[in-house]
């Protein structure tokens, strides 16, 4: 494996691993605090049990998130020293603000997890809220750094060097708003649906279990609104991509030929050598409309760009299709759930809807991996779009396949253990008798 490929694989693998924990680090504290708040308000001990179980899960997931995030901070340099040397002074700002968000998050997580008996009820709930907010804020800052890689701003380029740099202007880059909005919603949608799906599966077998009913209700109320508006936010993203990164847009769509009133392609397999996308369903003028909100707008095809700035088209196209397909399914399910709730129907008794939610449980995470593949692979061959090529940023260190394989093995091993522990710790459902004694205990 050539070093550049090993470096790219290691970066992608590490990020794909970290993002799972990061997303849960944003979503789960919200669930945990809502459960605790409900317990403080209603005195129903089932909520307390829920908050405690979720926080046990959070402790495990946060630890793995923290260590894999530390690895990433180093990897940015270990793998791409030239990128960091040039970009550090420009995008260091969001990273350093993120550092303080991490501090806040880690500090209050410690207080939340281990402070149940040491601080007042109010202080404890507030600590949980701080964890939830600082988690979201750290995600926002790091995504701003990534947005700059897509739409670099805040400098003048003289002989390939950044001069006259302005880190604040760099943070206001056009991709920042669409990406941070889409990512933050994604975190709530994915965590909410994953948790709701797990408890929905339990409820299908044991419909009266109060523990799962409470858990399900909280999780779906976090997940469904986010998943419902995610396509709108995705549309904002698509329009910024259309404006700023036409090659990426053409790859997402598998669009080789420039035309007015371009069709929207659903599915299909792009063939770079033949210069066309086979087996897709085409919706006339759909793409022009979605990308610019004008049915006759001209959309540039890949053939208008030199081959050496094409990303791997098939990967980007397929990843995008996966995100949109699964995202649409989640949005549809969310719409149904919210309509049912609004009409005061008991969602948990509708087996078809509950089954759909179980199916949607992993979809948010799949969308996130797919969406990041679109963003990152679609940016290739650039690490800083239009300015620095990935191949020119890589470390001169040879033999990069060794750390790539080592970290991959380590992460697979950790992943397996985390799943096993969560399964044992959090998911084992309390029996009816446990629940009754819990409720009796506080009543």
């Amino acid at each position: 494996m050539p070093d550049i490929l090993a470096a790219r694989s290691q970066m992608g693998m590490s990020l794909a691993f970290h993002i799972i924990f990061a997303v849960i680090g944003i979503g789960l504290p919200a669930l945990m605090v809502i459960a605790e708040y409900r317990w403080r308000r209603t005195g129903d001990a089932v909520y307390l049990e829920l908050a405690k179980r979720w926080s046990r899960g959070a402790a495990i997931l946060f630890a793995v998130g923290a260590v894999s995030g530390t690895v990433l901070s180093f990897e940015l340099g270990l793998l791409w020293p030239e990128f960091m040397k040039q970009a550090g002074p420009i995008i260091g700002m969001p990273f350093s603000l993120e550092g303080f968000a991490f501090f806040t998050e880690a500090i209050f997580l410690g207080i939340y997890l281990y402070g149940w008996d040491r601080i007042s009820a109010r202080a404890h709930v507030i600590a949980g809220i701080v964890v939830a907010v600082s988690g979201a804020v750290s995600g926002i800052f790091v995504v701003i750094a990534n947005a700059w890689m897509n739409t670099p701003r805040g400098f003048t380029l003289v002989d390939g060097r950044f001069t006259n740099i302005d880190p604040l202007a760099a943070m206001m880059t056009p991709a920042a708003f669409p990406q941070t909005l889409h990512m933050t919603l994604a975190a709530y949608a994915a965590t909410g649906f994953a948790v709701a799906g797990i408890h929905a599966a339990m409820l299908l077998r044991d419909p009266k279990n109060a523990f799962h009913r409470h858990a399900f209700a909280i999780a779906i109320l976090v997940g469904a609104p986010a998943a419902l508006i995610q396509p709108l936010s995705g549309d904002i993203s698509a329009r910024y991509v259309a404006a700023q990164q036409p090659v990426k847009l053409a790859s997402m769509e598998g669009d080789f030929v420039t035309m007015r009133g371009a069709p929207l392609r659903i599915g299909g397999i792009p063939n770079e050598d033949e210069g066309r996308t086979n087996y897709s369903i085409e919706i006339p003028k759909g793409l022009s409309f979605l990308a610019t909100h004008d049915v006759n707008a001209e959309i540039k095809g890949l053939n208008d760009f030199p081959r050496d700035v094409w990303p791997p088209v098939a990967i980007v196209h397929i990843a995008f299709q996966v995100m949109v397909a699964l995202g649409s399914f989640m949005a549809l399910v969310s719409l149904l759930v919210l309509v049912m709730l609004w009409r005061k129907r008991d969602v948990t008794s509708m087996r078809w809807l509950m089954t759909a939610i179980v199916l949607a449980a992993p979809m948010g995470f799949i969308c996130i991996e797919a969406g990041w593949t679109v963003t990152e692979v679609g940016r290739q061959p650039w690490v800083i779009y239009g300015i620095l090529r990935t191949a020119d940023a890589v470390t001169p260190m040879p033999g990069l396949i060794v750390p790539f394989l080592a970290f991959t093995t380590l992460y697979i091993f950790l992943g397996v253990i985390v799943v096993w522990l969560l399964y044992k710790q959090v998911m084992r459902s309390p029996s009816e008798r446990d629940l009754l004694s819990m409720q009796a205990g506080t009543a």
Partner: protein, 344 residues
């Protein structure tokens, strides 16, 4: 020495590194004492270490991230040189950090079966011993001086490189190994001293007192060893430590702190011992920094020479000021809850 923004930020990097050593360093040290737990109260020793670490280790660990972020934001060439030349020890250190953090949490939240817990305990303890050695080796390499000459200013992927001289020799030296051992000894020393305070009023206190005294002895011996090795390995640091105008007062204050710490341990005044040990370690770190001044990364990158453009530095200072307003009250709150109240 004038305080320019670059010097101020270099100072803050050192402050962050000091906090990392004083807090996270002691967390590593806790792992060492977990490994060396012995005697009739073996299990209690492990439990108290685990309780002491649990609420704070993640926060402590963020100091390292702050160091990294400040380096790449404000001293990008220093950062890129370090990550290129020290790729191997840094990767090994990261492995240690990952294994230690996850093993710790897997042990606390894992299965209650003894065998599994013991296994994670082992991983945690061994990773706690190995990681500081690699941290120290990186520090040793920096003190000795590293450069990345053959890496062209205009990029391009150099193909054939003399691998060993570029990526191994800079850090795999006796001096580097000595600094690695020094880090391990200092971390263990701090942990043992802190644990004497944590175990106030229990028989465990005596256990950790003995350990702290042994660790102090180890620090003393290794420090002389490292100084001797620096003779040829890190002449710049050695010259400054032996002859600089501030060298004598510096050795005196470090020595005084060390003597107070040991005397306080001896006479069982543990809170004083804790303060003095922390001061001693702080002086050692700042002695190294002062010996290198004005170089951030010898032999060629000075603080001013490697600094990012002024606008970045000024913004970094603002971000740090704003961050500090959030950070220090929160940290105070955390430590007040878990470290200043009596154990219930």
């Amino acid at each position: 020495m004038t305080i320019t923004p670059a010097v101020a930020i270099a100072g803050i990097v050192m402050v962050a590194l000091t906090f990392y050593v004083l807090f996270a360093g002691a967390d590593f040290g806790g792992g060492v004492w977990d490994f060396l737990a012995s005697g009739p109260r073996k299990k209690d020793q492990r439990d108290v270490i685990s309780h002491a670490l649990a609420p704070i280790w993640e926060a402590n660990h963020v100091w390292l991230i702050l160091v990294i972020v400040l380096l790449f934001m404000c001293f990008p060439t220093v950062f890129s040189t370090i990550v290129i030349v020290l790729h191997i020890p840094l990767t090994l250190m990261l492995f240690g950090i990952v294994l230690r953090g996850s093993a710790f949490i897997f042990r606390s939240y894992g299965s209650t079966r003894d065998a599994a817990q013991q296994w994670w305990g082992r991983v945690f303890a061994i990773a706690s011993i190995v990681t500081p050695v690699f941290i120290g080796m990186c520090v040793g390499a920096i003190a000795k001086g590293i450069a990345w000459g053959s890496y062209p200013a205009s990029f391009g992927n150099p193909t054939h490189l003399p691998f060993v001289s570029d990526f191994i020799l800079p850090w795999l030296t006796w001096f580097g190994f000595g600094v690695g051992l020094m880090a391990l000894a200092l971390f263990s020393y701090l942990a043992a001293v802190y644990l004497t305070v944590e175990t106030e009023g229990t028989p465990l206190q005596e256990d950790f007192r003995t350990r702290a005294l042994w660790a102090a002895a180890a620090v003393f011996v290794i420090a002389f060893g490292v100084l001797a090795l620096s003779w040829s390995a890190a002449p710049m640091v050695r010259r400054a430590l032996m002859g600089g105008s501030w060298a004598l007062p510096f050795h005196i204050v470090t020595g005084i702190a060390a003597v107070i710490a040991i005397a306080a341990l001896w006479t069982r005044r543990y809170r004083l011992a804790r303060a003095a040990a922390a001061a001693q370690v702080t002086f050692i770190l700042w002695g190294w920094a002062a010996a290198q001044y004005p170089f951030l990364l010898p032999p060629s990158l000075t603080i001013e020479g490697a600094a990012a453009p002024m606008r970045t530095l000024v913004l970094a200072l603002w971000a740090l000021a704003a961050g500090a307003c959030v950070l220090f009250p929160s940290l105070y709150y955390l430590f007040r809850i878990f470290k200043m109240q009596k154990r219930t």
